[in-house]
């Protein structure tokens, strides 16, 4: 939600930040069809960048190439200072990755799973044990002794986040990280990710949920048909985009809105909810108008899917042109 974005946007420091992820002219084709087309993207330390786009935009392919799981047809991937194609082990050692629908070994406990992955990172036994204990506490899985096979999707997602942070990586890549989390899990996830960014990690979050990306990310890279069609803060991108659709619900009939930027308002028959098309984010003004009229506010949000689609349509047209 836009207001929250304003609140949680990370201010860019004055000093120069190192690029921890550098994707240069990345291209990948499947059966001759480009899934990712000449994509260049940089993520600096302490930055949380959201990779946004609809299904088939090339997000997953970009993530898989960045993590070294598939080879690009062209272009270069640099993690910290290591080129993935030349030094995959050094590059991968700097990455903490959580795939969408993350999988673990069902016959092992959470701690045993993390211990196995910690060994692959060549973490020393004492440090490994300490780190695993810390992470299980932070993701709320401490004291859970059941095997991972008995975990819910949400618990696996939490464990996935712990695994991504296991080696205290300077680069964290998260693919649809909140897909199976409950509200408490989402809140914990945001805290953990923000803390990791504050500690200097460069974080790339892939999602098709605009609201999620806009809440957590300091920058957004918008993909469409394998191409980067927009790259900037949410404000910068939405300013370039088209109208926003805001849904508002009250506990009593809503008042008439006379706020600048409103293009149209559609009320439900009982007037307790309305859909407002606006040229900019006017949620604060709407909230003021509703509460001033003595109507308790039940819900106020941007229709993110419509907004995202509107943005994409505009950028697609520009890209095609």
């Amino acid at each position: 939600m836009l207001r929250i974005v304003r609140e949680c946007s990370i201010k860019q420091p004055a000093f120069i930040l190192l690029n921890m992820i550098e994707l240069t002219d990345l291209t990948k084709r499947y059966n001759g069809v480009p899934a990712v087309d000449n994509l260049s993207l940089r993520v600096s330390e302490g930055e949380i960048v959201g990779l946004l786009g609809p299904n088939g935009a090339g997000k997953s392919t970009t993530i898989l190439m960045t993590t070294g799981l598939i080879e690009p047809d062209a272009g270069q991937i640099k993690i910290e200072r290591h080129i993935m194609q030349k030094n995959p082990l050094l590059a991968k050692a700097k990455i903490g990755y959580m795939p969408e629908d993350v999988g673990f070994y069902p016959g092992l406990t959470a701690a045993d799973n993390l211990d196995f992955f910690g060994r692959l990172y060549e973490m020393e036994a004492g440090r490994r044990k300490k780190r695993i204990d810390e992470l299980l506490v932070s993701v709320g899985l401490d004291g859970v002794s059941t095997l991972v096979g008995g975990y819910s999707k949400g618990m696996r997602q939490r464990l996935g986040l712990a695994k991504a942070l296991l080696n205290e990586p300077p680069v964290i890549i998260l693919d649809e990280p909140t897909a199976n989390l409950d509200p408490v899990g989402v809140s914990d996830y945001r805290k953990i990710v923000r803390q990791a960014a504050a500690d200097g990690a460069a974080i790339l979050v892939s999602s098709h949920i605009l609201s999620e990306v806009s809440v957590i990310c300091s920058r957004i890279a918008l993909l469409s048909r394998g191409k980067l069609v927009a790259d900037g803060t949410w404000q910068e991108i939405s300013d370039q985009g088209s109208d926003l659709i805001v849904r508002v619900e009250g506990r009593l009939p809503l008042p008439e809105f006379s706020i600048g930027g409103i293009r149209s308002v559609s009320y439900t028959p009982d007037r307790t909810s309305a859909v407002i098309v606006a040229s900019q984010d006017i949620r604060c003004e709407i909230a003021d108008a509703v509460t001033s009229a003595g109507v308790p506010l039940r819900n106020l949000q941007i229709d993110s899917e419509s907004a995202e689609e509107a943005l994409l349509q505009r950028f697609r047209k520009e890209a095609d042109a």
Binding site: L64, P88, L89, L90, G103, F104, L120, G160
Partner: protein, 346 residues
């Protein structure tokens, strides 16, 4: 190289002992082997008693024609037949879901995102699960040999080497089916499909191919066996060694003997070549050679000599069958390796 190979191998080794199916098959394999050993030991004791009894009553001429002292390899005769099925199933169980399980639990993508090369993952899996098989097999063989010694059967030097070759070839056969399972696991999308494909190959190689070759293809290629000349078809009276000697010394019998050997060799060559394509047949060929060469030195009657001769020829092919048992897993592992290295992780 990273330490990934050892980490993956170590996990796979431990996983094999956590896998209930592998443990169940191992328990059956172990129990059946021990039961087979006990039965074999009893059979050996009976054969030995019978031999000693005949030895005590035989005259000088009969002693010369008697079989040599029974070999402890008799004990392994029944074990070999059991090993063919249970050993193969043990190998299949250990291998058929090594890759598909990773895909089904979606852990493969997670694993390969770590600082580990792809080949270290497939090699580590093969080494770990193969190591577990080796451990299980070594334990079974150790207990079997202990049982042999406890019952007072002490093999001689030549018999020890036969037992070692027998055990080694049995292990290679198990590894061959393990490699087939691993290969199908790398090719298939699900563990269920991998198991079905592996079992189909197992049935083809262990059941269908031997039957087709021994009952059809070998005879078709070798042709009809030579018929015995009429003049020597009458069997001399039992114990009439002079008449028997006169019969086998005739030029006609020698010609028949030569043709029979030639026919048998051609037929055996077809079976031997086919055996190179079946771990079961290769193991059986080695096992038969080892057991018969130790237990059957001389056979009496027309055809018995040919059988002994053919067996002697087969003993020369142990090496080729051992090589086949080495090549078999190498080929299937090679296919699994290539498939895994090119696996699409989307």
């Amino acid at each position: 190289m990273s330490n990934g190979l050892f980490v993956v191998a170590g996990k796979e080794f431990a996983d094999s002992f956590r896998n209930r199916t592998v443990l169940a098959i191992f328990a059956i394999f172990f129990a059946i082997t021990i039961i087979g050993m006990i039965g074999g030991i009893a059979e050996y004791q009976d054969t030995l008693d019978s031999y000693n009894e005949r030895l005590s009553t035989a005259g000088t001429v009969e002693r010369g024609l008697m079989d040599t002292r029974p070999s402890p390899m008799i004990v392994f005769e029944s074990v070999g037949a059991l090993l063919v099925t249970m050993g193969a199933l043990l190998g299949i169980t250990a291998g058929f879901d090594l890759i598909t399980r990773e895909r089904e639990t979606k852990s493969l993508k997670v694993l390969l995102s770590h600082p580990v090369f792809r080949d270290e993952v497939i090699n580590g899996k093969a080494i770990g699960a193969g190591g577990a098989l080796a451990f299980i097999f070594a334990a079974t063989i150790a207990v079997s040999i202990a049982l042999l010694l406890i019952t007072g059967i002490v093999p001689g030097a030549e018999e020890w080497s036969s037992i070692m070759i027998f055990a080694f070839s049995a292990f290679l056969m198990i590894v061959a089916y393990f490699a087939i399972g691993l290969c199908m696991s790398a090719i298939s999308e699900t563990s269920g499909a991998a198991l079905i494909y592996t079992l189909i190959i197992f049935i083809l190689l262990s059941g269908l191919l031997p039957v087709l070759v021994e009952n059809g293809a070998a005879d078709a290629i070798a042709g009809d066996p030579p018929s015995m000349p009429r003049t020597i078809q009458s069997t001399p009276a039992e114990g009439d060694m002079g008449a028997f000697q006169a019969l086998t010394d005739t030029e006609e019998f020698q010609q028949f003997r030569f043709e029979m050997q030639d026919w048998w060799s051609r037929r055996q060559a077809v079976i031997d070549i086919a055996a190179l394509f079946s771990p079961t047949m290769s193991f059986n060929a080695i096992s038969d050679t080892l057991i018969t060469s130790q237990t059957v030195q001389v056979r009496t009657g027309p055809g018995g000599g040919m059988y002994a001769q053919a067996t002697a020829n087969t003993s020369g092919s142990i090496l080729s069958h051992l090589l086949a048992l080495l090549v078999f897993p190498a080929v299937f592992f090679g296919i699994a390796y290539m498939r895994f290295m090119r696996m699409d992780l989307r």
